[in-house]
């Protein structure tokens, strides 16, 4: 046993204070460690599986008016605190230009999506039916006098389903490749099909003045909802962009590829895209909105 009797009283006091501080720090460390372990177990139970390989969705968005008088785009992101149990749902809806009430319809679409949330991840047919129901409601209200596009992704446990009506974009950036996942429902699809079946090249289709005309949209009769029947596997550093065409009218896929790289987080990626569109200074810049999701390695 150390003998403190020969030490001055002041030194003994300092040693006692130091010992008390050490014990406090040690107990605090034990408390924090235990709390963390308990929280992780709780999260693992919530996810219902081993979370060691789960990626997390880093999410950001922008929502800009461009040169239009009204903001006809609407954006939806589900509550992120529910992401472990219900996944992340992100959507963009673009009110159709040239028709009245585009702003109202796109807002209505995302408000209804919010009511439909939470959605069962593996019930792609059910979710698709809900979107069709929303479209029917718009049709009942406006009778083709208004409409909107819709692109939506649903991400859970490193898998993604997507849903699309109209000509907005769901873009995947993976390992330097940029891919538009959903096909645009416009007239050119029919022209290309016809020309390809006839064995000819298809440049004529791209010259057609009605090439970009929509053949389906939210608010149409018997809307066809494009949707995945099984989910796509996602990987670390995948970047998913859910955007209206105001973004891709200003930024080509090559430009997007050069601009967005995985070393940035979602907020930085969103800012880069937004500035990229703004700097393009298109005289008739459409409303431009996007949700950017970057798949990151989870800490748990």
């Amino acid at each position: 046993m150390p003998d403190f009797t020969l030490l001055p009283d002041q030194t003994v006091l300092l040693i006692q204070i130091a010992a008390a501080l050490f014990v406090t720090a040690f107990l605090s460390f034990i408390y924090v460690a235990l709390t963390t372990v308990l929280s992780l177990n709780k999260l693992k139970k919530m996810a219902g599986k081993d979370t060691d390989n789960l990626l997390v969705c880093d999410v950001a968005y922008f929502h800009c008016r461009g040169k239009r008088e009204n903001q006809e785009d609407s954006v939806y992101i589900s509550p992120l605190e529910d992401s472990y149990s219900n996944g992340v749902v992100a959507a963009c809806s673009d009110g159709m230009g040239g028709l009245l009430y585009g702003e109202d319809v796109s807002r209505y679409v995302v408000e209804r999506l919010d009511q439909v949330y939470p959605m069962k991840f593996d019930d792609q047919e059910g979710i698709s039916a809900e979107i069709k129901k929303i479209s029917d409601e718009v049709y009942e209200q406006y009778h083709l006098g208004a409409g909107a596009t819709l692109v939506m992704t649903h991400i859970l446990n490193n898998k993604m389903n997507f849903y699309s009506v109209g000509d907005s974009n769901i873009i995947l950036l993976r390992k330097g490749r940029v891919t538009l996942l959903n096909h645009k429902q416009n007239y050119i699809s029919l022209l290309i099909r016809k020309l390809a079946e006839g064995g000819t090249e298809t440049s004529e289709a791209y010259r057609n003045t009605r090439a970009k005309a929509l053949i389906d949209f939210v608010g149409n009769i018997e809307t066809n909802v494009i949707h995945t029947s099984r989910p796509i596997q996602l990987y670390e550093d995948d970047i998913i962009i859910i955007s209206t065409d105001g973004v891709t009218d200003a930024l080509s896929f090559n430009k997007i590829k050069g601009m967005l790289t995985p070393e940035y987080n979602a907020k930085q990626l969103a800012r880069l895209m937004k500035i990229g569109v703004k700097n393009k200074k298109l005289p008739k810049q459409d409303n431009y909105s996007a949700v950017i999701i970057k798949m990151d390695r989870s800490l748990i």
Partner: protein, 179 residues
């Protein structure tokens, strides 16, 4: 049951020099011959390939059939042969023709060998020229949003058209769906 859809396009070239061979009896056999990459002086032609395949394909032993076929074709011939029997698929490829299968939300290339098949599996067989205008992510997305082979092929052709308006040399592909 196997559903299939074939696509052959000269792609602005004067003639179509690839070949797609398909039989469904006694088993489903799909083959693509990549004739458009061969020089005009090549000894092997699409007709020769089809003739040889028709001759050897009744052999129930897939490996032996491929060995015989390989031995009879010149070294520069590029092709792929698939045989589907029940819940098994056998693949043999040489050169720039490949088969890709949708598996667990991903797209994987089928190597040479025999593998199991499940209901709903989707397979694309195509030449390198067809693949060169597509990304795996695009092929996968199109497979997952369609419920027929013809719809899947149409979406793939649309993607290629968006790149080059189908002015890109011979295009040959087959989509397969296990029902």
């Amino acid at each position: 049951m196997i559903e299939y859809f074939t696509f052959k396009h000269s792609g602005e070239k004067e003639s179509y020099k690839d070949e797609i061979y398909l039989t469904v009896v006694p088993s489903v056999t799909v083959a693509i011959f990549y004739g458009s990459v061969l020089p005009a002086t090549s000894k092997v032609s699409p007709e020769m390939f089809s003739g040889l395949l028709a001759e050897v394909s009744p052999d129930p032993d897939f490996n032996r059939m491929c060995q015989v076929l390989d031995g009879k074709l010149p070294g520069n011939a590029e092709y792929l042969v698939l045989r589907i029997e029940g819940s098994r698929i056998a693949c043999f490829r040489r050169g720039g023709v490949a088969a890709k299968i949708v598996l667990g939300g991903d797209l994987k290339m089928l190597p040479n060998g025999i593998f199991g098949l499940n209901e709903g599996d989707r397979i694309l067989v195509a030449t390198d020229n067809f693949y060169s205008h597509l990304s795996d992510e695009g092929i996968l997305a199109d497979a997952l949003v369609t419920d027929s082979c013809s719809d899947w092929m149409n979406l793939l052709v649309r993607r290629i058209s968006d790149v080059n308006q189908l002015k890109c040399g011979n295009l040959s592909a087959v989509t397969l769906l296990v029902r």
